[in-house]
């Protein structure tokens, strides 16, 4: 029999329900895995007691013959961007080191209400700003993957949800939460050979999620397959009066209605995504993906998204602008770090606190955001970016008049080595070229593992859907998953 920790969310849930193993056995097995994987630095805080309490509740309910909750017996990882009551929540920053919220985020509360347990708080890029998990105050997350041929260079697990992706790929957790502002679920999923979906903007409540760029931030699940993502998403999504942009819509039965049959579906291939300089292997995998969705019954059409090249510069105005505004709350007064030397006044305290509490990338983005919002530049930068954002969203609307879904690569490369791009912020930003446009348009999008490159590293394909069509996105993801037969996993070295 394979190890319990090799099982995914659905298999664990069903196994506990059937009595194949107890929830306690499941929790114990993952807790051991987590405790032995310090070398990956995927966790900022481990919470075995939380996972054990949920497991005990599940086993007791089963013994009493009570109906089990949807995620009873399933322990998960929680990205450390979600406020968890009484458990340190840092956004991987020095600013919030030691911060223990007195409240629980809506998304995490929903997961606990569904019976899930928490194995720990997962590392991430500081305030979710980064694409490689190299901006965390608590150190880099190391991908469990390594290039073949004896190359042991530590690789990036992607970012910002790099603790989530590394922990899932290394079988430390069967699933985890992520958040996605410009690709922070999808790119790390692609880099580590797992699945992840960013739902339509407004599906998951942002309440209690440390804010980065509020018009873009969306929570979503990451797991090893599409069905597990559907199960987790069902237990994360839903209306929340505490989030003013929460969509007041019922949560669909994504798991029950999941189907990889694409007959009658039209899948668009955006020609502008065929960028110069994209590695041949990625283009070949994209072609393979096209063949797979055709095999699943879909008709494939070429579409045009003419403003694609403007998506990244638009994003790098809007996201830092919103960040500079959101992060104004860290003032050393109400919570978090305070730096105050003898004789300093209030203004000195603000400036010293923010200099000490924010890492270099966070400071860089706050400065860019402050600059583009400052008097005299607001219209040229922020208003212009908001208008181009309208055009980018219209591109998608136009494309969706002739197709139902879009298929693209998730990232322009496989995982890069730590340090390879961190010296050049712009080179790092360009890694999000395929994920940012859907974020700007608020569309559901997911990455599924589709193959390995010549160095043996995972590559992902991205499916983008119409607003609220998570079902279509998951279905196409499943069709690719069924045909890709992706079973590769990192060899354990940690």
């Amino acid at each position: 029999m394979s190890e319990i920790t090799d099982l995914g969310v659905a298999a664990l849930r069903d196994g506990v329900r059937a009595g194949t193993f107890s929830a306690r056995e499941v929790a114990d097995a993952f807790i051991v895995k987590v405790s032995k994987a310090k070398a990956l630095n995927a966790f900022i805080v481990e919470t075995p007691e939380h996972a054990l309490a949920a497991a005990t509740a599940a086993d007791e309910a089963l013994a009493k013959g009570e109906a089990l909750k949807p995620l009873a017996g399933v322990p998960i990882g929680m990205k450390d961007l979600f406020a968890t009551k009484g458990v340190q929540t840092t956004a991987a920053s020095h600013m919030l080191e030691g911060f223990k919220p007195v409240y629980e985020s809506t998304v995490s509360q929903k997961l606990w209400d569904a019976g899930a347990g928490m194995l720990g708080k997962l590392n991430l890029d500081q305030f979710a700003m980064g694409s490689s998990n190299e901006t965390s105050y608590f150190g880099n997350v190391i991908s469990p993957w390594r290039r073949g041929g004896g190359d042991n260079a530590p690789l990036a697990p992607g970012g910002s949800s790099g603790g989530s992706s590394a922990a899932i790929a290394a079988r430390l957790v069967p699933g985890a939460t992520g958040t996605d502002t410009g690709g922070s679920i999808r790119q790390p999923a692609a880099f580590t050979g797992i699945s992840g979906i960013k739902p339509t903007y407004g599906r998951c409540s942002r309440w209690g999620v440390v804010a980065f760029a509020s018009s873009l931030d969306q929570a979503g699940p990451m797991a090893r397959d599409v069905k597990d993502c559907a199960i987790l998403l069902e237990n994360m999504a839903g209306f929340d009066a505490k989030d003013s942009t929460s969509l007041n819509l019922p949560v669909p039965k994504w798991e029950e209605l999941l189907s990889g049959d694409l007959k009658g579906k039209k899948i668009g291939i955006p020609k502008e995504y065929r960028l110069d300089g994209t590695p041949e292997e990625i283009l070949a995998l994209w072609d393979q993906g096209i063949a797979w969705v055709k095999d699943a019954g879909a008709e494939v059409v070429e579409v045009s998204l003419p403003h694609t090249k403007y998506a990244l510069p638009t994003y790098y105005i809007i996201a830092p602008a919103e960040a500079s505004s959101n992060l104004a709350r860290y003032d050393g007064v109400r919570y978090g770090l305070r730096e105050l030397a003898d004789g300093q006044n209030l203004q000195d305290m603000y400036a010293a606190t923010r200099a000490a509490g924010f890492g270099p990338e966070v400071q860089r983005r706050i400065l860019i955001g402050t600059y583009v919002l400052s008097a005299g530049f607001y219209d040229a930068y922020f208003t212009q970016a908001s208008k181009v954002r309208t055009l980018i969203a219209q591109d998608f609307e136009n494309a969706f008049t002739v197709c139902d879904l879009l298929l693209t690569p998730t990232a322009p490369s496989a995982a890069f080595a730590l340090g390879e791009k961190s010296a050049d912020p712009l080179a790092m930003y360009l890694n999000d070229v395929f994920t940012v446009p859907a974020s700007l348009a608020g569309l559901p999008a997911m990455s599924v593992p589709a193959g390995l490159d010549s160095a043996g590293l995972p590559l992902g394909l991205q499916i983008i859907g119409k607003p609220l069509d998570e079902q279509g996105v998951l279905g196409a993801g499943l069709a690719i998953e069924q045909r890709a037969g992706f079973t590769a996993r990192p060899e354990q070295w940690w």
Partner: protein, 95 residues
């Protein structure tokens, strides 16, 4: 538009982030590089385009103007770096 070290210092002051002269020297070319790249947006004709305000059409809801979660002073103050007598405290701002 090129950002010099004086501009970097002014922006940092607006953002309430203390930076040294060396930081400003380092940041100026970095920010110029990023802003230079962003400026390509200027070439898009947006004369007849409305700026996006809501990515998914959604109406802001209003709620009754009543207290929903009051009387939580201690919880609110719990993570304060410094508090006294049920208040947040900061360095003296008036003599």
């Amino acid at each position: 538009m090129s950002v010099d070290t004086a501009t970097v210092k002014k922006v940092a002051s607006l953002a309430r982030i203390a930076i040294s002269d060396a930081d400003a020297e380092r940041l100026a070319p970095e920010l110029n590089n990023i802003l230079g790249w962003i400026e390509q947006l200027g070439e898009v004709d947006t004369s007849s385009v409305e700026p996006m305000t809501a990515v998914i059409p959604n109406k802001l809801r209003l709620r009754e103007d009543v207290v929903t979660e009051g009387n939580q002073r201690d919880a609110v103050l719990q993570n304060a770096p410094q508090g006294e007598h049920g208040f947040f405290t900061v360095p003296k701002v008036v003599e």
